[in-house]
Amino acid sequence: MIQVDKLAKFFHDKKRGVVHALDHVSFEVKEREIFGLLGPNGAGKTTCLRLLATILKPTEGTATVGGADIVRSPEQVRRKIGFLSGDMGSYARLTPREVLAFFGKLNGLEGQKLRQGIDEMVRIFEFGEYANTKIDKLSTGMKQKVAIARTVLHDPPILILDEPSAGLDVPTARLIENFILQAKESGKSIIFSTHVMEEAEYLCDRIGVVHQGKLAAIGTMDQLRELTGKQRLREIFLDLLDMSERGQGARA
């Protein structure tokens, strides 16, 4: 569903000069697969996901998302994805229904189809009376539900999730985990970044470790264990960062 081909993003920083935020990264995400992107802060995870969501344009390389090229057909790409970021805010002055109506319209839904879609989201996420309450009056968990609902309202085949559980308490983070698993069950492909090793280990079919803009390793948990000789993902991750800094590129 996603093929990333030597994708690179450079930008100019006044202090640091040319920064290689993402440096010719290649990987793929298969159908009905949960692919995790792991990496320390500033590794290039967010840049990679923003490029796939066509929010940013690549400096070099390209990728296809659901068969559409991110450079040549960005609008086609955006029709096939649902994008969610953990640090994304919400429209505090709007109600969940109003937010869903807005994003539904942006995704081309209208009339009866839009109304049915909104009603279905209100039912699935159990908004109840809160569906017509302004978002700034809702709990963090409820706000996160609204964010998820607007991401999947148009039923996209691909989900791009950037640290979706960042800063959430355990019950709300669990909500995200269940959402990702259900999305996979319903046939979606999911790429998501996280700092929570336990979450990645539990959810991901395959994991890619990004460090300093480069892909340090990629593989299933078993393949990464074999590569590093470590058992826990935390140890595997730290080992891979060490190897990457020593210049020993590793691919499972």
Binding site: F11, A53, M88, Y91, R93, N107, G108
Partner: protein, 389 residues
């Protein structure tokens, strides 16, 4: 361009700004409450000052009643109360009396000096009244002399003069209402557009809601168009409320005789108000596109305010020039943004605007709005501006 997408953005932005306190204050409260309140206060102040000045204007300083033998009777007949003062000039300066009168004798006869302070309304009024009383006395004295010499009194008035104002009430209203209105409408319209423009751009960045919109199939040009249209709507609503509120205030808030005459004469006709509203639409679009384009550079609401506040001040400058009397809206001057609409509003209320100038001004402002939109759309596609990468 997909107008359905722009409409979705437009509706969402309008919904948001209708629930934003800062926008509501600048868009609704200022025109509907502050303007009538300000006019009412000016009105009351003028009225009370008028009464106070009239009372004060009747005191006149003299060295003693005996030392103004020629004019004493005329002053008393005009209603003045002579007050004995040693320092006539100082008494006026210290506001002890409205004016002072001093009489001296020289070879040619009595010489009258009147001391007034022209910076004080009461003193100025007293000066005018004393001059009128002395003119009357002078005429009567000459008349008495002529009676003894056998020459006809008609030599004093070989002809009479009369000033006839050919301007209609509508035109007078335009002069009073239109001059100030253009400036106030432009100023409030820019202020009314400022908060929505910041809220939809820098505000979205600050609240981190922009990424979700950018990752939707909506094109960036369509998004910007929706945002500019919503900002222009806010600006236009501010203009409508300002015009309506000022028209209402002028018609119904006059308190004193003087302000009543001026205010009621200035109450504009409905047709002029509607025409003025048509004239401000292109300017509202221009203001919105300019402000959205600039606010896009800001990272936060606060930063947006510091970018746009100078723009509002800058917009006030051509508006002030537009208030100046004696300027006509020529086809060339109709190309100057903001000035053109201020001048147009004035001429609409004067009832003698040129259709050609109206068309040129509206087309020019629409062209500026289109340029502003193109720039804003270009900026909105610049990821360096949106994400500071």
């Amino acid at each position: 361009m997909n107008l359905k997408t722009s409409m979705a953005v437009y509706q969402k932005e309008l919904l948001e700004i209708s629930r934003d306190r800062r926008t509501l204050i600048s868009m609704v409260v200022v025109p509907l409450v502050a303007i009538p309140l300000m006019l009412n206060l000016v009105n009351r102040f003028m009225s009370s000052r008028e009464k106070q000045a009239e009372g004060e204007a009747l005191t006149v300083g003299v060295l003693s009643e005996a030392k103004v033998p020629t004019v004493l009777g005329a002053l008393k007949a005009a209603g003045f109360r002579p007050v004995v003062k040693e320092d006539l000039r100082g008494a006026v300066e210290k506001k002890e009396v409205a004016a002072s009168v001093e009489e001296a004798q020289d070879a040619s006869g009595p010489h009258i000096s009147v001391y007034i302070d022209r910076t004080r309304q009461a003193s100025d009024i007293a000066g005018d009244k004393i001059r009128a009383a002395l003119d009357k006395l002078k005429t009567e004295t000459v008349r008495a002399s002529l009676r003894g010499s056998g020459i006809s009194e008609k030599v004093l008035t070989p002809f009479t003069t009369q000033r006839v104002n050919v301007a209609s009430d509508k035109k007078m209203s335009g002069l009073i209402f239109g001059s100030a209105l253009g400036y106030i409408v432009i100023l409030l319209m820019f202020t009314g557009a400022m908060y929505p423009a910041i809220d939809m751009t820098a505000g979205e960045k600050e609240r981190r809601t922009l990424e979700a919109v950018l990752s939707s199939p909506a094109g960036r040009t369509e998004i910007v168009f929706g945002k500019i249209a919503a900002t222009a709507t806010a600006a236009f609503i501010t203009a409508v409320l300002t015009l309506g509120s000022m028209a209402y205030s002028f018609r119904f808030s006059a308190k004193s005789a003087q302000t009543q005459e001026v205010f009621q004469m200035a109450a504009p006709e409905i047709s002029s108000l509607l025409m003025a509203l048509v004239a401000v639409i292109p300017t509202a679009l221009m203001a919105a596109s300019l402000m959205v384009a600039i606010a896009l550079f800001a990272k936060s609401y606060k930063e947006g305010q510091s970018y746009l506040t100078p723009i509002v001040m800058l917009a006030a400058f051509p508006a002030v020039v537009g208030m100046l009397p004696g300027l006509e809206l020529t086809p060339t001057l109709a190309l100057i943004p903001i000035f053109n609409v201020c001048q147009l509003i004035k001429q609409i209320f004067l009832g003698d605007f040129s259709r050609q100038a109206f068309a040129i001004a509206c087309i020019a402002n629409l062209a500026y709005a289109a340029i502003g939109f193109a720039i804003a759309a270009r900026i909105f596609k610049n990821e360096g501006v949106l994400f500071r990468v």
